[in-house]
Amino acid sequence: MTAPLSLDAYRITEEPYYRPAGDEVAVFEAAWRERLPVMLKGPTGCGKTRFIEHMAWRLGVPLVTIACHEDMTASDLVGRYLIDETGTVWHDGPLTVAVRHGAICYLDEVVEARQDTTVVIHPLTDARRVLPIEKHNELVRAHADFQLVVSYNPGYQSAIKDLKESTKQRFCAIGFDYPAHEAEAAIVAEEAGVALDVASQLVAIAERSRNLGGQGLAEGASTRMLVHTGRLVAQGLPLAQAVDTAIVMPVTDEPDVRAALAAAVEACLP
């Protein structure tokens, strides 16, 4: 079978900017060479998605990204029959596309998917590397370039929304966290196009909000939020207003926590 044109759309042609925090690039490359399933673990918006985009580019492999959600079914991953003029036709789902034609399949926020959905990946994660498609009566053998990568936010789980132990055990894991102050400021400056000192102030603000993680806030402001804030500043919005719009307001609905955060933000600004 030849790779259909469709996979070309999944190729990343320009280098996604990624600033490594440690040796995660080397670790991932090793896992890639063995085609081991990898779990990227860390809080939301800390660079996991950016990292995998960067790695797919670096390795020259297409990247199929699937954002997982509650209502996602196994069919959404694997594929289903559709109807056309002549009757029913089988249509590969995104996971099957990646398995059949060779791509990194990235299941973003995998805990969001229900456990009975995620079990379909099990046969792909052991030595068999196959995807059984019951409905189509087919056993798809994984392409040599297929690799499974998932992301997982450990701070964001409850007993119900957690990965099955049997699922977790199938992955190598690379830990991610918000970058150190200087590094995060450099990222924000680069991504948002603001001066380094502004970026550094934003990071200081984010650090205040992260202090509230678990004490009023589910999670503090992410790198992604800082990038958004920076973009608003780059658009000419005053810093305080940008912070209010892109950090303080979105992060909580609780009036007291919001007031506390707003006051802490004020403390960060000269």
Binding site: R208, Q215, A267
Partner: protein, 768 residues
Amino acid sequence: MMTSVARLDPPAAPDGGVVTRTERLFAGRGALGVAYREAAETVAKHGSEDDTEVWCASVSGLANANAGATALLAAWQLSREEIRALGPRRLARIIEAAGAVCRRAGATAAAQLLKQAPLARRSLRSGDSTVTWADIVADLAREMPTAIIPLLAETGRVLSRTDLDGFRHWVESGRRACERDTGSQVAFFSLEDPAAVRLLARSGRSQPFDRLERRLSPYAAALYGRPAALRGIEPDPEAIVPPRPNIAGGLMRLPLRFAGADEIQDRTYHAAVAHMGAHLAFSRSRFEVGKLRPLQIALVNLAEDHRVETLASRALPGLANLWRSFHTIGADTPTTTDNLLARIARALADPAFEDDDWAVAKARALLAERSDRLEDPQISREFGSLLGNDFGQRRLQFNWKTYAVEPLYRDDGLGLWEFPEDVAPPETIEMFSDVARPEECSDAPERDDGRVDQDLEPARVRAATREDGLPVARYPEFDHRTGDLRQEWTSVRDMPVPSASPARLHALAATHASVHQKLVSQIRSARIGRSERLKRQPDGDVLDLEAAIDHTVKRRLGEIGDDRLFIRRNRQARDLATLVLLDVSESTRDRPPLSPASVLDMELAATTLLAGALDDLGDRIAIRSFASDGRNDVRMARLKEFDERLSDGPLGRLAGVRPGLSTRLGAAIRHATGEIAAERAYRRLITVVTDGEPSDVDVADPDYLALDARHAVRAARRAGIDIVCIALSNAHLDRAKQVFGAGHVFPVGRIDTLPTALSAIIFRLAAR
């Protein structure tokens, strides 16, 4: 004079009209009659005939209550003096209230009410409020006649500290606090009782601290990465200087309001919390007092304040601006020690501040020389002793008793010091002892608020130790008689949990293995998220064959088919968090008729089985026990946390539960509601396991606690939390139904009926 009053006599009335008729009451009583006429005349001048009639009626009412000359004269004097401010109608109502007081508490009390009314009117600044004030007093006279004279004697003090609503609440608190004991009634209403003073201070408009507390603690956490425990400092009416914040063993203590305008309260609290947070973050160890005198200590504090503020502002430059804005003292103020200290503080915080006093210059120089050692608290000590000597040579007087650190937001600094040893100068020791008192009981301030009995003895308060549990929260309580929520009426403490061998519970679980199995399968199949098959969907897991055939047929016939051809299974994972609230009061020691086991044993069995089943399924379940000993001592113990598996740890704690004390159900429910509200789950369920009857030692009214609990139950439901009751005694079933609502009470007489009750509960959850 006679002529002008004659004008009031309606000529047509043969008996001479109400004014004259009333006057006959005082006929032949000399001066009394004259005084009456004078007052009646004044009133008549300021109102209609009807008004005057109403007033006259009130006066005769007072006379008929056997008020006696003093009270009557007081009524007339009040009428003459206050006619402009109050008008005849309000005067009449106040005189009526005095009549009621007279009948209940005697003529002297009535006279007192009338004499204090002008003062009340001035304090309350409203005629209507003055009438209400008099009515409240008259109302109190019915239950507590002996308290009226002491209360009225303190009218000025009382009304200067609160407003009308506050007054009403405070009186109500007093009424509840000292139900039948006249001694404590007098102590309370004469403000001799310090608890009465504190309650009064808290009774009026809510204090800024109460309003801000919930945001200040996350504020401190955001700034310094550590949560702060905050406490209010109850106002001390005897204090010479207004209270400053202070640090006591990691607690930040703050006045209930700062001196000054409402507009600056928010900023001052933020400045204070940021400042104390800086101390907690950067003043790592406490200073030894050694031989330092109060002035030197104040100077060390000054430098230390500067040091920690500078360190904190490095990462948080906005704080420097906030703090600087509080320094307002001018360089031209008289050179007293207090002023000089404030000027030095300003000079250190504000480089632009100009002051040519050499002490200011020296202070700046001393710290500039040490600016590379800012991390080292020792520089504050050096600063204090060096500058202290210079102050000494200038013979500047320092009186620590009247000194209050400036600016306003700064803490008194004494929390940074070890308590002085004997070698310290006597005045230093005295200074520390003076503040040590509130510090010692700061862990248990909740306990002494408004409780007017032996428990208030400071000895008891101080003896409160960890075994008594840590106060963790205060809750309001609903009074069905007034329809009011009494603020901060109960306090909940988190009790340490003794453990016992879980063997008993293991055995119990083994005996009821079949019950366990039933529970597990019931909960597993629980319809709290039953899956549904939705036909004819635009997309889905499987083809809807019927629809597909329909569609194909239509297409073949050249019609337009419906292309919604899929079946979708809509399934929600069971997402349930459960908190079990276990009544462990003395009454659970009882054995229900015909039952082999005590209520508590059945509670434990039911809880173990329920928790076991939920735990097996990986559902989140927490267990708390509760009992109470009066409203200030609601004891709760954490037997199992949501995150914990049901291992021997929690089972041991369950097994260690012993019955005792009473059942203040409402407070326990409020606490449980707060806890489960923080859980992220689709359905949240509080299951109260009890024998059904709320009661407590300080409550006589059998409805009071039940209706309060009902109030708490409704609040929980409004917050989207399900709350049900497993009732283990049929004796109080009606009570339980009153509290939880009939459909939410599940009687369990024997353990093997537990699965039935539980499936009913689950059915309810699913039905909503």
